[in-house]
Symmetry: C2
Subunit: 234 residues, 2 copies
């Protein structure tokens, strides 16, 4: 019955890199493992692909279990397949990249998984090749956010332009010119002025915008230019 008898069957893991933004810093959702192997160490949230489960469904399942969220922004990032990457058994891991609105997540589920939101700066050593995966994901975030409107995925439904600017400044660790940033963002036509104002501010209240979902979907794959050109000369 076995049509491919000679080939070897391998464990297939899924690891998720989950980014959030708290208004100040980009954060990663990491788990302190309370199970073997590497119990007590930090890692990405992961799991194994079930034999009756599509790969994307496996990622969605793992993300849902940890965050209680469905329909979040997920991309497949890269598959890691060094022979020795997991010392216990040959395991190939498919890494997924997720952006979530940090206030939406189910903090009870996060706590029960022994997970925490940790800033990129303060992230601990991670097991296996997870650090490499995180570095790759940070690069991908910087790359993609410069060209496509993925920043919105990290913000609440209603947001202000200064909030958006702080997000981009956090992603790239550089200050941006307020006026040029605002002009650039508004000129995309992706923002809808809700007419409402942000009440969190102690001084002048900023305009609350929402995303134009129709344009967003239509134009997602277009190229934009959210970063100053000087940022792009690596």
């Amino acid at each position: 019955m076995n049509i491919y008898p000679q080939a070897s069957r391998i464990l297939l893991a899924i690891d998720c890199i989950i980014f959030g933004f708290d208004g100040k810093d980009i954060k990663l959702l990491l788990v302190k493992r309370n199970f073997e192997p590497e119990k007590g160490k930090w890692s990405l949230m992961g799991g194994f692909l079930n034999s009756d489960e599509d790969l994307a469904d496996g990622a969605a399942r793992i993300l849902y279990n940890l965050t209680g969220l469905k329909n979040i922004y997920v991309e497949q990032l890269e598959t890691y397949g060094k022979v020795k990457r997991d010392p216990a058994e040959r395991t190939v891991s498919v890494v997924f990249f997720a952006l979530i609105q940090i206030d939406d997540h189910d903090s009870e589920a996060v706590r029960s998984h022994n997970a925490s939101w940790i800033t990129l700066e303060n992230r601990p050593a991670l097991i296996f090749d997870h650090e490499e995966m995180v570095c790759k994901a940070i690069e991908h975030l910087k790359y993609k956010a410069a060209l496509h409107p993925i920043g919105f995925e990290l913000l609440p439904e209603l947001f202000t332009i200064p909030q958006l600017q702080k997000l981009y400044e956090a992603i790239y660790s550089i200050p941006l010119d307020r006026r040029n940033f605002s002009r650039k963002l508004l000129s995309t036509g992706l923002l809808i002025d809700t007419g409402r104002k942000n009440n969190n501010s102690t001084t002048k209240k900023a305009t609350l915008y929402k995303l134009d979902e129709v344009r967003y979907k239509e134009k997602f794959h277009s190229f934009w230019n959210f970063m100053p050109d000087s940022m792009k000369q690596s």
Copy 2:
């Protein structure tokens, strides 16, 4: 001994999308299968990952077997993991994206694998989800070639600007303005004038350039703008 007893082990395939350019059209290297399953049908070149082999090495092995080439441009593209994608047995496939200089390949190896260079337009129906993989790869080629200098990977070591332009016109299926294209490419500082001229032309002979390898490596991850902006509004 088995630390992950409950998880299922899965076949891991590697499929390679190999692009070439013959001076006129972008072509794909496809194999007509002379083995089961799906014998006689067309597919991507592929194989299974060996248990003692890194994933990237598996891709390099498969590419070497078919083309006789090492050190070619390879990227990991995406991993396909639908449950039913291979009707014979659950198989997850990691797709690699390769660009080669079409004249360099070992045509004897290609023939012995029953493989052919086929233009994108004339490509036959492919097995499993290989058509989806190819579509994704074409999109990736368009995307990446607009922002990073990967076009050179498809050309011989010495090339002319008109050749380069024909390549980009083939990738995007649009005519480009000769003068603007030339200005843009030369302004990157990636081209070195060899002083030599192309003898293939029956009219005015074009200048032969080579790639500035140092700058190419240094600046590969910078953003460029090889396509007119009008091309980028999807």
